[in-house]
Amino acid sequence: MAEFVQLSLVPMVIGALAALACALPGNFLLLRRQALIGDAISHVVLPGIVIAFLVTGSMAATPMLIGAAAAALVSVAMIEAIRRLGRVEAGAAMGVTFTALFAAGVLLLEQSNTAGVHLDVEHALYGNLESLVWFDAIGWGSLIDPSALAGLPPELWRMALAAAAVALALRLTWRPLAMATFDEGFARSVGVPVRVLGVGLVVSAAVAAVAAFDAVGSIIVIAMFIAPPATARLLTDDLRQQVGLSALFAVAAALLGYVLAGYGPLWLGGTHSVSAAGMIATVSGLFLGLAAAFGPRRRRAG
């Protein structure tokens, strides 16, 4: 059991927090038909962190996060500029932007000699959830041992902070956001700042994506933005229930996926574990498949 606390507990908690932070804003992105924004954001984070690395020369977390956030903002600005000035349809504008930025990130990465540090495209895609171990832990007792707690990976606190911030932002703007999501015209007519809310939603999605990206890679980010909210949407018509259920599915996918990736192959007689990030995304997909086949609210109304 000591081994579980040391090797698996922290990654599972981080995975669950990352899933939660992405799934919460994902509900609103889904309802507003902006589901692919998460996809675009998680791609453009790569050039952001590469440029931050080139500028500062270190893998410290703060410049990485600033770089990633700046890249996310640049991409949103680029999409808007191409869409409005070039009169290009939104999906295509997004496709042009994120492929170009991702390609720039890959090129910079290969050109800058980052062989010495752990920064490569595979890392960006799959993250390094398995490596976030808690060296100082010797058992469950370490959870109340201050010196051991001080040795927890910093990613844990960052992810917890991001998840809390996103949850708080949604809680505070719940009513106007729900109104603006379901009936934008009505919301505007009663004085809800629709545009500000829209930008705020994208920003909170970017915060979640950037923080989660650092810990778990972009696959989980995209999967968690979309799959748990979509699953919940097929089960209920009530927004509150949908958000609650999506949080539940996100956490369940993270925990179950991590366990299956870490221990599943061993149960089947294998010797190595498989990618936890990939397995978490797969499990969330299984949930969605089941909901799409059997969910009580899977059909369109009327």
Binding site: A92, A227, R233, G278, T282, R300
Partner: protein
């Protein structure tokens, strides 16, 4: 950067292998550029992104099957069949989620993209644990690589791309009709569903064929960026498709040649950045829809409006305060620095006033071509000399009264 090496590669002088790879890449760019407009015009560009990511489990499974059968896991045709099957499964999943549940298409695309890709990553790590080093080469499918590509693989890519291209050329008419006006296409006896499926099948074909060269993360750019770029230069579909194919081919060829000259450069990224460079040039510089052209046009209209309004103000003896109006009139020598009209300015103001009066009559009498009555069009561009004479006659009687 050794530009002579790039030049040699582009002119097919860098050896047999490099030449075959370049031709394969160019064909791929051509056919991706030709297929792209049909997705772009139907606003389904992002479907191909999901297709590309959905290929990964198929690639991995095909690799495992090949190894299990005792063969070389990197046999490209088998990997392509595997990737086509799994991308096809992804397409069916999108279709199912979009049509059988209440999820919207963008949600279905995102879900399929991430879940299939996640499953593919799981399989990749499984392959890694099967035996170190044996998956070497599968990483190329993520970001693409022309460096060290075998001529045989390039031939597979080239033939596949040429096949897709010939299908586009054969079915260009029904595909175009459906892309622009599905309802009209249906009434003309075209099977819209079949044509939509064909467009997606073509996207799937191009995606699968291009995987090894461009990589599954970026292959979608070859389907999206060239048509968006071409759209800046033309309003005609035939030209759009041809230009898009040309831009695709140029991007693919340049990217391949550059990465052949410097093997460290990731091929897919260079191809995409070349395509993006063409896009930027068109976005800013196109005379038809470019940003610069639009800005110039906007400025010209503004100058004409300010000139006209300024002259009318002069004619009525009203003071002018607007800075732009003042500067426009001064620059043309119609107004002195102290705000008094020059002789030429007075003449122009009288002209403007007469023009305005004529238009007022024209609106009442002829109800003529109201569309052109924007306050800027000279009346003799719309009405005949006889009609203007009638108007002037009226004007004279009015002023006599």
């Amino acid at each position: 950067m050794a530009w002579d090496v790039v030049f040699a590669a582009l002119t097919l002088q860098a050896g047999y292998n490099a030449a075959v790879v370049l031709i394969g890449a160019t064909l791929l760019g051509l056919s991706a550029g030709a297929c792209g407009p049909f997705l772009f015009l139907r606003k389904r560009a992002m479907v191909s992104d999901a297709l590309a990511h959905a290929t990964l489990p198929g690639v991995a499974l095909a690799f495992m099957a090949l190894v299990a059968l005792g063969g070389d896991g990197r046999f490209l045709p088998a990997l392509l069949v595997g990737s086509a099957l799994s991308a096809g499964a992804g397409l069916l999943a999108i279709d199912w989620l979009t049509h059988r549940t209440r999820l919207t298409e963008d949600a279905a695309i995102g879900a399929v993209l991430s879940v299939f890709f996640g499953a593919g990553v799981v399989l990749l790590t499984l392959i890694q644990s099967m035996g170190a080093g044996r998956q070497a080469g599968l990483e190329d499918f993520l970001l693409g690589s022309a460096a060290g590509m075998l001529a045989a693989d390039a031939v597979v890519i080239g033939v596949g791309a040429a096949l897709c291209l010939s299908i586009v050329v054969t079915f260009r008419r029904p595909l175009t009709l459906v892309a622009f006006d599905p309802i009209f296409a249906a009434t003309s006896g075209i099977n819209v569903r079949a044509m939509d499926r064909l467009a997606l099948a073509l996207a799937l074909g191009v995606t699968v064929v291009g995987l090894k060269l461009v990589g599954l993360v970026l292959i979608v750019a070859l389907l999206i960026v060239p048509p968006v770029t071409a759209r800046f230069w033309t309003d005609r579909t035939g030209v759009l498709i041809a230009l898009s194919a040309l831009f695709g081919a140029v991007s693919a060829a340049m990217g391949t040649a550059l990465s052949a000259a410097a093997p460290g450069l990731p091929t897919g990224a260079i191809i995409v950045l070349t395509a993006f460079g063409l896009f930027l040039v068109s976005f800013t510089g196109s005379p038809l829809r470019g940003v610069l052209a639009a800005a110039i046009k906007h400025r010209r209209t503004a100058v004409r409006v300010h000139r006209r309004q300024g002259l009318l103000a002069l004619a009525k003896g009203e003071p002018i305060y607007d800075r732009m109006t003042l500067s426009v009139l001064r620059r043309e020598g119609l107004l002195r620095r102290d705000g008094v009209a020059t002789p030429r300015g007075e003449a122009a103001a009288a002209d403007a006033r007469r023009e305005e009066a004529r238009w007022a009559i024209a609106r009442a009498v002829f109800d003529a071509d109201g569309r052109r009555d924007d306050g800027l069009t000279p009346i003799d561009a719309v009405l005949t000399a006889d009609q203007i004479a009638v108007i002037d006659q009226r004007l004279n009687t009015l002023s006599a009264v």
